[in-house]
């Protein structure tokens, strides 16, 4: 009995401690995020995705609490389907997740806490999220989201001008492209025999680089901006 009690202490106390550390970090992160009511920023989107050739595209990103997000571009812009709102939505209510401290890691030159987020319940598409948070300014240096449908998306963040709001200057999305394929028979390029076969990507991941400049924070954004 004594042994069992000790064993329980050994496992539960650290878990509880890890959970507390993670929650404090997340609370700090949320508190800083709450300071942003809305923002807009100019984005330069570059992509390096197998099977997709696209030149850099200029766009404008709009965000408004609590979960309004929109990208406007004159031309066609390719963005990851997940990664912008998923985390903020998940982290907006404590009941939605369980956060666990999973150790330290160095991202760039920044020692970061690794926080693992487990969504409550099993109905969400998101299975697991990991955040690498720089505890000095509570900046997310890296995040990793694993979903049921789209595999894993990793995002690397760099900060410069908007540190105090925790808004990045650049983001690099690394997406899973294993499932990409060119539909058979659609590309009717008779010059190329291979077009009749399904083309698969040569690399398993693709990258999308977003540079963000000209932030306009808390200037008041109308809801109409988010209407498509």
């Amino acid at each position: 009995m004594n042994f069992l009690f000790r064993l329980l202490i050994i496992f539960i106390i650290p878990l509880s401690v890890f959970s507390q550390v993670a929650e404090v970090t997340i609370e700090n992160l949320n508190a800083r995020m709450d300071r942003i009511r809305d923002y807009s920023a100019d984005a330069l989107i570059k992509s390096d995705i197998p099977l997709i050739k696209i030149l850099p595209v200029r766009a404008t990103i709009y965000f408004k609490q609590k979960n309004k997000f929109r990208i406007k571009s004159k031309g066609i812009a390719i963005l990851p389907k997940q990664g912008f709102l998923d985390l903020s939505e998940l982290l907006s209510g404590k009941e939605n997740y369980t956060a666990l401290f999973s150790g330290f890691d160095v991202i760039g030159n920044y020692r970061s806490e690794i926080i693992t987020i487990l969504p409550a319940g099993d109905t969400t598409d998101l299975i697991l999220a990991k955040l690498w948070i720089d505890p000095t300014g509570y900046l997310v240096r890296k995040s990793q989201i694993t979903t049921r449908t789209n595999g894993t998306i990793t995002i690397d963040y760099t900060y410069n001008n908007q540190n105090k709001f925790g808004l990045p200057d650049s983001m690099i999305f690394t997406v899973d492209v294993k499932k990409f394929k060119i539909p058979k028979g659609v590309a009717t390029d008779i010059n190329k025999i291979s077009s009749e076969e399904e083309k698969k990507p040569t690399s398993k991941t693709g990258k999308i680089f977003i540079q963000l400049t000209n932030y306009q924070i808390n200037k008041g954004l109308s809801d109409e901006v988010f209407q498509k």
Binding site: I49, P50, L51, I52, K53, I54, L55, V57, A59, I71, K72, S73, K74, G75, I76, A77, I78, L79, P80, K81, T149, N150, G151, I153, V175, D176, V177, K179, F180, K181, I182, P183, V186, A187, T188, D189, I190, N191, K192, I193, S194, S195, E196, K199
Partner: protein, 280 residues
Amino acid sequence: MLLKSTYNEFIKIAAKPRSYLGLAAITILVGVILFALKVDGLSFISFVTASFEQTLSFEGNILNGNLVAFIVLQMLIIHIPLLVALVTGDLVSGEAAMGTIRMLASKPISRTQLLLSKFIAGGTYTLLIIIWLGIMSVLFGKLLFGSGDLMVLNSDGLVILPQSDINWRYLCGFAVAFLALLTVSSLSICLSCFTENSIGPIVTTMAIIILFTIIGTLDVRIFDKIRPFLFTTHMASWRSFFEEPVPMKDIYRSIFILIGHNILLLAISLNKFNNKDITS
């Protein structure tokens, strides 16, 4: 005299009801495609982008006039040869069937000029067909769907071309498509020199196109050596202008081969027509 004879050919083409068949067919076909895309274009696109859209989202107006024009061209360009041959295949043999070739050949004009005027008129008609296809697809496409970046599905993946970088591609694409259709025109006129009925050259032209296309698409090693020299292999070269980077070397080769075909067909036609006994 060549210009006068060419002008005569224009009058004849303009007066034939069948000349308007091609223009009407293009108008109806493009109209149907534009209507279908307007009603259910997004599902057509999602069929293409489905595998990408699980992971990525495409922002911006994808179903725009540029894409619509591209879809229209891709769908129709393989059918246009029939519309061209319908008129050009009749230019010499139709006159033989009517007996008017006898009247023309006894006038003070050389047979070379007479045939050249038919080639020029056939080429001009082909140009007209291409221009009309361009107007219908690009202009009406943009009017109905607006403009925007062009997302093209090539055999090696999706290419997204910025709006500002598209017009020249369409112009060059149409120019190469014209050259390909000009080859069809030359082929049908050439065949037209060998017969004295209207239907023969039209049917034979289409049969040759179908045969060459089958040879071109069959992945059989025995055809590997001849495939690059078949004009049908280069009929879709207009599409290369929508690749990134543009494979100029391939396009130049296609242009060279298509021009070569035209010169060869013209030479065969001139030789046949100049030495032909007009017995009709």
